[in-house]
Symmetry: C2
Subunit: 339 residues, 2 copies
Amino acid sequence: MQVTIKDIARECGVSVATVSMALSSKKTRVSEKTKAKVIEVARKYNYQPNNAAVSLVNKKSKLIGIVFNDLRNTHISSLFMEINNVVEKRGYSLVCHIIEDDGAVECDLLRNVGAGNISALIWAKSLEKYTNEEKKKLNDAILQLDVPVMTMDNYGFACEGTDVVFDYRQGGYIATKHLIDYGHRRIGCVAGKKNYQVTQERLEGYKMALQEAGISYDEKLVVYGDYTMNSGYMLFSYIMGKKVTAIFSMNDEMAFGIYRAARMYGVSIPEEVSVVGFDNVPFADVMQVPLTTIGIPVEEIGKYIGERTMELIECTEKKGRNVREYKPQLLLRGSTRKI
Amino acid sequence: MQVTIKDIARECGVSVATVSMALSSKKTRVSEKTKAKVIEVARKYNYQPNNAAVSLVNKKSKLIGIVFNDLRNTHISSLFMEINNVVEKRGYSLVCHIIEDDGAVECDLLRNVGAGNISALIWAKSLEKYTNEEKKKLNDAILQLDVPVMTMDNYGFACEGTDVVFDYRQGGYIATKHLIDYGHRRIGCVAGKKNYQVTQERLEGYKMALQEAGISYDEKLVVYGDYTMNSGYMLFSYIMGKKVTAIFSMNDEMAFGIYRAARMYGVSIPEEVSVVGFDNVPFADVMQVPLTTIGIPVEEIGKYIGERTMELIECTEKKGRNVREYKPQLLLRGSTRKI
DNA sequence: TTGAAAGCGCTAACAA
DNA sequence: TTGTTAGCGCTTTCAA
């Protein structure tokens, strides 16, 4: 059985209120002597306040909820580590909720999250194309949580927090433009899940670059995967069948799948086909032919999310909702060539 | 403000006890009619029990602590996902604690974890070579938690739970033996952090295989990194300077760093040097020259940990401490060749 | 400077 | 079948 404030009070011959105050970091009206005694005894018994009791009375816990799709993607796990690093230093812990892609489940999840007595929520899950009704339900569920919410996309939540967005459109544009600059005209696009907002944005960038170069958009050259390596692997033969000379892969993982398939089919990169990825995961630079890709400043983003979350929790004055945008960067490596 | 049991009681014209019972899944002594009414009202207001209150009275929460070093390693994040998948289905959430390598911090962390009101702890952090005093301190801290603890190594904790171990020694042996079978005699070893138990075990396996083949052990051929890609990259030139014809890398990440360095120095794998990794992360199979490596059944392990944790939480009869061991497997791919 | 007491939301023993 | 009540461990008025 854990030692409680009561045990300490008894041993020190004071009341529980005094112990509570002595142990509190707030301005104390307790005499130095009593305080020292209390602290000593507390240490002796290795006293730890019971979090459930503390949060029951304070209506705040040291827990921050975080929701995401898949941690196996290095890109997400790096983000996670960065965020954790910031909040853990301040005594907070992340409570994980992993969610498959399905709007219905999200609200269930949120009931669960809401019951968890968290002080803030980090919604790092990809935004999907919701119907208006789904949107409303989700927003209601979020509002009922009554805590600040950080999102990794523009969810349009009406609560306090920040939409941390990345300019995926610009990323898609830069990637495609780079291929065009290298003389490619038939550029395949291995897209991610169709219903993700981030997929649509990258696609818009792709189209923009094409249009700007006077290349007509051909939807046959766009094929949808699910952002996993395996889907890149599976889609390779289709896209090559379309006689493309270059591929814009919407993330690095799928590009790796493409690499693997290319090896299998004896197609060499970049001689026979150029490939551009997206994310710049650490492995991108390991391959024999390092992957040209679009960089995302994950460390910076993670750090910001962590700090902003803490600010939202600890500052009393309300800050409303704001947006913070990050920009893409082309990382030129070996997987693309001029034709 | 969240709806409480009291609000529902008022609206239904019954007492809070009745509401509590009606909403509980246990055998209920509440009339069907009252129960239906209560459930209806609860749903109407989207009632969620306050976890802090529930765990304060039950002395149990729906939280499971998990401790690890680095999530960026695909190997760890896969494990994490598997565990989460099992426990989330049962209504539990994982609370993350990431810890750098430092015994001193571990106990601090544990105070924090202990305050967190968790129902079980999963200690997925690498075991280090502790002094006896450190060991005792850690064990005491763990015991004070008074919850079942799963570990990913043989920590020798005295509490209820399971040591889930992997036969790293055998893995190191198989990897090295494979290289020896291929005719290699000068086999370099790119090891992980020296103070990790798992490093020492792999090293023992390496030595065993060498000895069995009558090759004398040369400590100059062993060099220590930190299990990151970058350390593999940095150590490559040293190990090649020792005129080895093959390298046993203690994990895939470092092997990838070796790949990268090899490319830089114009050394070809496996023509000029054979490489064996360890872990079998998904990327191992993407490279132009796919990595021969040692497989670990991560999915199986993760699933077991999740299920065993739930069993420990939910079963009332005490089960003591047991050990579960998993075995390595050689995955022969393209990065090794006969000489 | 300290203590008594109320109360956070919930559960469970005991009474009715 | 239902209500009353005590209490989980803590914080915070209010009174001494």
